[in-house]
Symmetry: C2
């Protein structure tokens, strides 16, 4: 049987009502709402980066009104989220999967892997937030743990038992539907 | 006569050729090129955030090809640049002015001021890069110096002599047309 040494499953018994009421909310909107809450309560300044778009043509139907009429999505060169918490540079990517047993590494793009490696080298707190939508379980897994796994395993996915053991379950709290900062706090405390 | 105690004008005598050859390059493209160079040489990971755009309608003229046909510019809620250098969270905004004597504070938007104040509180290295295009002079001015000036003066602009004294001129180096990291190094050294 799998053990959960960090008590990471303690919210597995959260009231069913809380789960169903938020059904359909995406991880992205949960994280955005969480970051907004962190900003309002002055805990951290962490933002989602806008999607990069190449604008080709803009119309001006009225003065001071710009309407983009031709544009294309560009490839990002970083992760989606970064910012500052307790003086530390924070950088992460968020991914959802319907899979119930593994996280397919194909969901992580090469530029995201490269960027996470790069910021890690410079001293960032870098991680992935992975939500298993079918299980309604969300985990924070540090980038260095993922890179260590990748370098020692030939698998093209992260098994859920490994994520449960190495990662930490992200709790849903009143103001923060994806309250990941307490997990960072734990790490900062351990590193003191 | 104005003194330059930090020797910040030492590149005022840079070869004329270097100036004219790069005429027409914007501050933004200079900074992007600089950040790319920092990334290539593994000095720092600092990126410009994409412009936030609200996509309303997307056409699919071919499979796997998305063409945005209706979209609008949104207001940003942060500065344009952030990243990590030597373990520190870096955050800045870049502004150009044709003015030869002052930097008009109106060029700095309220959300940029709010964001800079906010990240400063959390321990960021936050600053403005200001280019006086008519003079071909570029300065790095730390956000806390600007906030101190704003709180003690009623002026709606930063005078160039004050910027020359409090800020530091940003040099153009071979790989980095707006080589601002050495100025940060100086600050990190002083804080040790």
């Amino acid at each position: 049987m799998i053990q959960y040494p960090n008590g990471t499953r303690k919210n597995a018994s959260r009231p069913q009502q809380a789960n169903t009421s938020r059904r359909g909310m995406t991880l992205e909107s949960d994280i955005n709402q969480t970051n907004e809450s962190y900003l309002i309560y002055n805990k951290a300044v962490i933002h989602k980066k806008p999607t990069p778009i190449q604008v080709v043509h803009v119309d001006y139907p009225a003065r001071n009104k710009a309407k983009i009429v031709e544009a294309y999505y560009r490839h990002a060169s970083t992760t989606d989220y970064n910012g500052i918490y307790k003086g530390k540079y924070i950088d992460f990517e968020a991914k959802e999967t319907k899979n119930r047993t593994i996280f397919p590494l194909a969901l992580l793009h090469q530029h995201q892997i490269d960027h996470l490696r790069s910021v890690l080298q410079h001293g960032a707190i870098a991680f992935l937030i992975i939500r298993f939508t079918s299980l309604n379980e969300t985990y924070l897994v540090y980038a260095q743990d993922i890179f260590e796994y990748i370098s020692t395993h030939k698998s093209k996915s992260l098994p859920l038992p490994w994520i449960r053991e190495i990662g930490t379950m992200v709790e849903e709290t009143y103001h923060a539907p994806c309250d990941y900062l307490p997990i960072i706090d734990q790490r900062l405390k351990e590193n003191l």
